[in-house]
Amino acid sequence: MDRRRLVTLVARFREFGILLVLILLVAITSVGNSNFLTSTNLEGIALDTAILVILAIGETVVILTRNIDLSVGAILGFSALFVGVVLKVHPGVPIPAALLLGAAVGLVFGLGNGLLVALGEVPAIIATLGTLGIYRGLIFVYSSGSNQHEITASDLPNNFLALATQTFLGVKLFLIIPVLLLLAAGYWLGQTRSGREVYAVGGNGAAARLAGIKSGRTVLLAFALSGALAGLGGVLYLARYAQVDTLAGSGMELNVIAAVVIGGTSTLGGVGGVLGTLIGCVLLSVINNSLVLLTDPGSAQFWSRAVYGLVILGAVVADALITGRLQRALRRRRA
């Protein structure tokens, strides 16, 4: 029980901390640049966050099982270019079919990762470092094979591009997808048997196996989900930016992992959840936006990686220090 109390304590502490950072950042940026609190800018932040959240939900599940998926950026890129070419050649494809197609492509890649890790027993970091290179390479193979190196707005049907602008009951259609996915993932992880098994496998794999949980299947499921969501994210990326080349999504795995880690999901597995991930995603998007608004927009893009790196390090260091202190405090109280 101590462990659970510790976890909730840390979670409350850090969610409060992140929220504080977020509020501070919003205050500083809105004072520094009056464009921050305009509806156009906030809408842009929401749309950026939407894509990040979709990928981060899958990554959260993978990290909860004590694994990591470095290939999500490459999967997003492949799906975006692939679906873009399909839409260019067959403009009549309905939007739900395009979304499903992207998710299916991602699912195949995700299953590849999952089989390597669960069945092949290749450590996730190595397996997905390898598939990151392989999937990115496949984008080049596909683009040179189909002779389509870039998809621009003029290649895409208008009703598809409307995905990013159309509203439904006053809410952007685009934002409904991540919200539904968040609710579904939150329910699954918190309330269902297979969702709890994700925590069990990541928290103590040996104990989970002894308790009869098929940990291999859980890990496979986590990677498949991560891949499918990255594929779906690719289609939304295509609709939002309407400009996709072979490098789309490169390095995005870092943003995704940063969002998950900042959101309190432990890289040691078994601790965390999608609510924290959502806060992490919003914080990252606001940081990115503030960088652009507060500095010279030309140079901001070059420093953003450094900021992400610092944020990842800051989050994990703060996490380790707080957990360590709480653990010591709990031990003292018991003594």
């Binding site: 027993e121 470092l129 392989i134 940990s215 140079s299 070059f302 790196g309 994990v316 360590g324």
Partner: protein, 360 residues
């Protein structure tokens, strides 16, 4: 993600006990290792034959030696990487560190510093970058995988930020073109000599010193090392600092060879360095590995890429080959081990060898 070293003591290597059975198992392991390096030699010959079929000029000694300059920087990164992997850690930040060092060199050069002073500044920054990796890993007790994933982004971001999308060139002749310098009247280019010296030094360090034995011991059982009074944290910090220093050195050689410095230099180098170490037989869970294997694997990877270039296959697609090699080098031995274990069980043999790896 790899389990903490304390949980990995059950790896294939450390199962060797102190009794007679353990000794035979240890010998069997050595035999397997020899087979692994033999496999690498066969692979290397295969790649050489493939290259020779693609281009009649390949076997020209000048050509084949000059080709090696293309992957000596990755080779330099792979040497400390092997040590770090044997110790049960990993360093994802080496490519970024190499780029940062190159950019610091270029930035100080633009500021009017003497070119060799610029080199010193770059090396110092590299060592500092490695020191930070080591200190955060050991002091805060965060897995090095997570720490170096963060610094992978941080160091690359600093390199990108300092130079933006500009590139710096115009370095003096005394600095550029290291790959065009040869040993005496031979065709042996300077980067190959530098790598050979570095490899010999690393072999001496790993296989000939107490420090090297500590590296193996930490990778096998960190807890036991702590209880035996080994300064585990100090060894790990030294390894990461060395890795940063060598990465900076590799970054300078790359800058000299390309004659320019950019923030996106050495992208994906960590992937190739890790591939060389692991394909060379280093156990990703720590505890075993050799420098000889890593060197052989480096030449397999480097000459394979050279062949793919000869066949007009672009660098972006070549990463597929590296990725496949990386995964197969871990997948196949694991499958073979499990296959043997299953076979042994069926014959009523030692079932304990069918131990699951702690990978997931």
């Amino acid at each position: 993600m790899s389990a903490p070293p304390s949980e990995q003591a059950g790896g294939a290597v450390s199962q060797a006990g102190t009794d007679a059975a353990g000794v035979t198992r240890g010998r069997a392991f050595l035999a397997k290792l020899a087979r692994w390096e033999l496999l690498l030699v066969v692979l290397l010959i295969g790649v050489l034959v493939y290259n020779a079929r693609l281009s009649p000029y390949f076997w020209d000694s000048q050509n084949i030696l000059d080709d090696t300059s293309n992957f000596m920087e990755i080779g330099l990164l792979a040497l400390p990487m092997t040590l770090i992997i044997i110790a049960g850690h990993i360093d994802l930040s080496v490519g970024s560190t190499a780029a940062l060092a190159s950019v610091i060199f270029a930035d100080r050069f633009q500021a009017g510093w003497n070119v060799w002073l610029c080199c010193l500044a770059a090396l110092a920054v590299g060592a500092l970058a490695g020191l930070i990796n080591g200190l955060v890993t050991t002091r805060v007790k965060i897995p090095s995988l997570v720490v170096t994933l963060g610094t992978f982004a941080l160091y690359r971001g600093l390199a990108n930020g300092i130079l933006g999308n500009t590139e710096v060139s115009g370095f003096p002749d005394s600095f550029v073109g290291i790959d065009l310098r040869y040993l005496g009247n031979t065709h042996i280019p300077a980067p190959l000599i530098i790598f050979a010296v570095a490899a010999i030094l690393t072999i001496l360090l790993l296989h000939g010193t107490v420090f090297g034995r500590y590296v193996f011991a930490i990778g096998n059982n960190e807890q036991a090392c702590r209880f035996s009074g080994v300064a585990v944290d100090r060894v790990v910090v030294i390894l990461f600092t060395l890795s940063g220093l060598v990465a900076a050195f590799a970054g300078l050689i790359l800058t000299s060879r390309l004659q320019t410095s950019r923030g996106d230099l050495a992208t994906n180098f960590e992937l190739q360095a890790i591939t060389a170490a692991v394909l060379g037989g280093a156990n990703i869970f720590g505890g075993s590995g050799t420098i000889y294997g890593a060197v052989l694997a480096l030449f397999v990877i480097g000459l394979l890429q050279n062949g793919l270039t000869l066949a007009n296959i672009s660098g972006d697609i070549q990463t597929i080959a590296v990725g496949v090699l990386l995964i197969l080098s871990i997948l196949l031995p694991g499958l073979a081990r499990r296959g043997r274990a299953a076979f042994g069980r069926r014959r009523g043999g030692d079932a304990s060898r069918a131990k699951r790896s702690p990978a997931t």
